[in-house]
């Protein structure tokens, strides 16, 4: 291919007939895919489409979902470039730390309010450190990687690498109580989503956050306090992670050291997968809300279909690749 051809290809790529058809369909692709998979599973297992099972899926998605809501905020504000852009790898460690610290103080006989507050505060402090580091100029990937190591260490120190069992009325209520058939965790997930969503799209925060993520210099020049937005995103992510930590503590009735590590990949996946539910292929809050449920649906359906558990992650991987491949019109040659 000559250089002339390459330039021509570059300039007219958007006028390509074929791509126009696909682009029209693409925005709905994620939704179609999700719908298709729901229908497919409802044929294969009679239990899948029962209310009990659907509420179970929502419950399973809540822990990953809440943490993903914070993560996607970081990705939106930092830009979705994976290496240079925003990402919070310490979120898994934060989830574990909140659970451990809360359980630690509860088991020492401190009151519920104090324990939960301390658990959340210590995590928020970590988030503040992340924010300061990133605003100062350290790459988010590395700042949060380093913070993750520090926080995991703190988790081990508090828990002494042991499981801490808790017996508390509040956590039992959090685990067992249901209203209208849905667990408390689902309401917390929904509530967190609604608060963030209304703040994001009801005020100018959302559009400014996208501006900072898209081109931070342009955003700065047009009068947005970019540093404030970046800093806040890490604090929000830490708060969301700590809520997730409380939920995981309630669910297991005990804190296991490094409990968050196993869900880190799911959290990252839900955040990046949100782009397939968006018309402009941007990470977005509503997309994350659906993605987390989507991921939980896959796990749930495979369990119902009696797949051995070690097949699940592979099938998840394939399905995600298929979805992402079909939507990726945003080519790597921009």
């Amino acid at each position: 291919m000559s250089i002339k051809n390459r330039v021509a290809l570059m300039t007219k790529s958007s006028q390509n007939k074929e791509s126009i058809k696909l682009v029209r369909l693409a925005p709905y692709f994620g939704t179609l895919m999700f719908g298709g998979i729901l229908i497919l599973f409802s044929f294969t297992s009679p239990y899948f489409l029962t209310f009990g099972n659907l509420s179970n899926i929502l419950l399973q998605s809540s822990i990953v979902g809440v943490a993903s809501l914070g993560m996607v905020y970081v990705i939106i504000v930092g830009g979705d470039d994976v290496i240079q852009g925003g990402i919070d790898l310490s979120c898994a460690a934060f989830i574990g730390l909140t659970a451990t610290v809360t359980a630690f103080f509860l088991s020492r006989g401190h009151s519920l309010v104090i324990s939960v507050t301390l658990g959340i505060l210590i995590t928020v402090f970590g988030g503040i450190c992340n924010g300061i580091g990133v605003v100062y100029g350290i790459r988010p990937l590395l700042m949060t990687l380093g913070m993750g190591a520090v926080v995991t260490s703190a988790d081990l120190i508090f828990s002494n690498n042991r499981q801490i069992l808790i017996e508390n009325k509040f956590f039992e209520w959090l685990r067992d109580a249901t209203y209208y058939g849905l667990g408390i965790a689902v309401y917390i997930y929904l509530f967190t989503f609604l608060i963030l969503f209304s703040l994001f799209h009801g005020t100018s925060i959302g559009i400014r956050a996208y501006a900072v993520g898209g081109n931070s210099t342009a955003a700065l020049i047009s009068g947005i306090k970019t540093k404030k937005y970046i800093f806040n995103s890490y604090v929000v992510s830490a708060v969301c992670a700590s809520i997730s930590g409380i939920l995981i503590l309630a669910r297991l009735s005990s804190s296991t050291p490094r409990a968050g590590d196993i869900i880190l990949l799911d959290v990252i996946l839900a955040s990046f997968m949100s782009v397939i539910f968006s018309r402009r292929f941007m990470p977005n809050l509503a997309g994350v809300f659906v993605s987390a449920i989507f991921i939980a649906t896959l796990s749930n359906a495979f369990t119902l279909l009696n797949f051995p558990s070690y097949w699940t992650s592979g099938i998840k991987g394939v399905i995600i690749l298929v979805i992402v491949a079909t939507r990726s019109k945003r080519s790597w040659v921009k």
Binding site: I3, R6, V7, M10, V82, I83, L89, G133, Y136, G137, I138, R139, L141, L142, M143, L145, G146, M147, G148, A149, V150, V151, T152, S153, A154, L156, I157, N161, L265, I268, L269, F272, P308, S309, Y310, W311, T312, S313, G314, I315, K316, G317, V318, I320, L321, V324, A325, S328, R330, S331, W332, V333, K334
Partner: protein, 330 residues
């Protein structure tokens, strides 16, 4: 309009900020050689070289990929596949040459998959390799019935295979020599060959590289295959060292490798990953782990120290990049 002004810093100040990772490494070396008597003995240094070897190999692979503007989260998958293939061949009575060669070549499968996903399906490298990682985890669980390690009986293991992992040559272990060899390979590719320059150009400015006539697709494909093959070599080495295959052991190196590469980027003016920098990053991690073990520090605190050191080194290097970027903006 503002006048262009150079930061008013002495040469020494500027250099000390640039070489902060090297200074950090020397400070760590100095600290441990004072606090532990055994640290600076030839024996311990060769242990460090051996411990560093696998991380250095994975880091070299990661340097290649990050230089091309992507990232490879499936290094652990290629690593484990290499170990799995080599160990199962020995386990089933195959000979050493086959085990090592097929183990190393098994990385090609992962590389081709990644290359296909990234180049032809145009999935972003992060998500594509994340998918490969998921699939790899599953495949390993399936093949090992949920995650049972495969152990080789000492009586059945060919001595040549064992010496591949544990042998000594001129005072260093074989894995250390192989890691140096692979490191040199990556160095030559990135710093001396046209291929390396093309990859660098693509990593920095994809559009410009494409318009400039670089065959982006072929180069990217080669990068991902090369990265996976290099990681599979590390897997074979670990298998030979342990004479066992432990599922999912490769993922342990992923975050360390990414950290090491980015510590290395502080050496460059433009924040570009370089093999030399990655070497220093990998050494910092290994020396820290070795020294802290010698001092008997509980592993609870090791993560804390490592995390803080990453943050401090990167934080200090930011001061310099800031002055550079100010220079560019004005």
């Amino acid at each position: 309009m503002m006048k262009a002004s150079f930061p008013k810093r002495s040469v020494i100040h500027e250099a000390s900020l640039r070489f902060i990772s090297v200074i950090g490494l020397f400070a760590i070396l100095l600290f441990f050689s004072f606090s532990s008597e055994v640290f600076f003995t030839g024996n311990n240094l060769s242990v460090i070289a051996t411990n560093c070897s696998l991380l250095l190999i994975v880091t070299s692979a990661m340097t290649l990929v990050i230089r091309s503007g992507g990232i490879d989260l499936s290094v652990g998958t290629a690593f484990d596949l290499g170990a799995l293939v080599a160990i199962s061949i020995i386990h089933n009575g195959g000979n050493t040459q086959n085990a090592i060669i097929l183990g190393i070549l098994s990385g090609v499968v992962i590389g081709l998959l990644n290359g296909f996903l990234i180049v032809y399906l145009k999935i972003s490298p992060f998500l594509a390799t994340l998918g490969t990682l998921y699939i790899g985890v599953s495949v390993q669980r399936i093949l090992t019935h949920g995650g049972d390690p495969i152990y080789l009986k000492p009586s059945d293991t060919p001595s040549l295979f064992v010496s591949f992992g544990r042998g000594q040559f001129l005072g260093l272990s074989i894995p250390a020599w192989i890691s140096l060899l692979l490191f040199a390979l990556v160095f030559v590719i990135l710093e001396r060959l046209t291929f390396g320059r093309e990859v660098t150009a693509f990593g920095m400015q994809p559009m410009a590289a494409f318009v400039g006539g670089i065959s982006v697709k072929a180069n990217l494909f080669r990068i991902y295959v090369l990265s996976s093959v290099i990681c599979a070599t590390a897997g074979v080495l670990l298998g030979a060292r342990l004479t066992a295959y432990v599922p999912l052991s490769g993922d342990y190196y992923l975050l360390d490798a990414i950290g090491a590469v980015f510590i290395g980027t502080t050496l460059s003016n433009t924040g570009r990953p370089s093999p030399m920098g990655s070497l220093i990053g990998a050494l910092i991690f290994t020396v820290l782990a070795n020294g802290m073990n010698l001092l008997g520090i509980s592993f609870y605190y090791q993560g804390l120290t490592r995390g803080l050191i990453i943050i401090v080194i990167l934080g200090l290097s930011v001061r310099r990049n800031r002055s550079m970027s100010k220079l560019l903006v004005k």
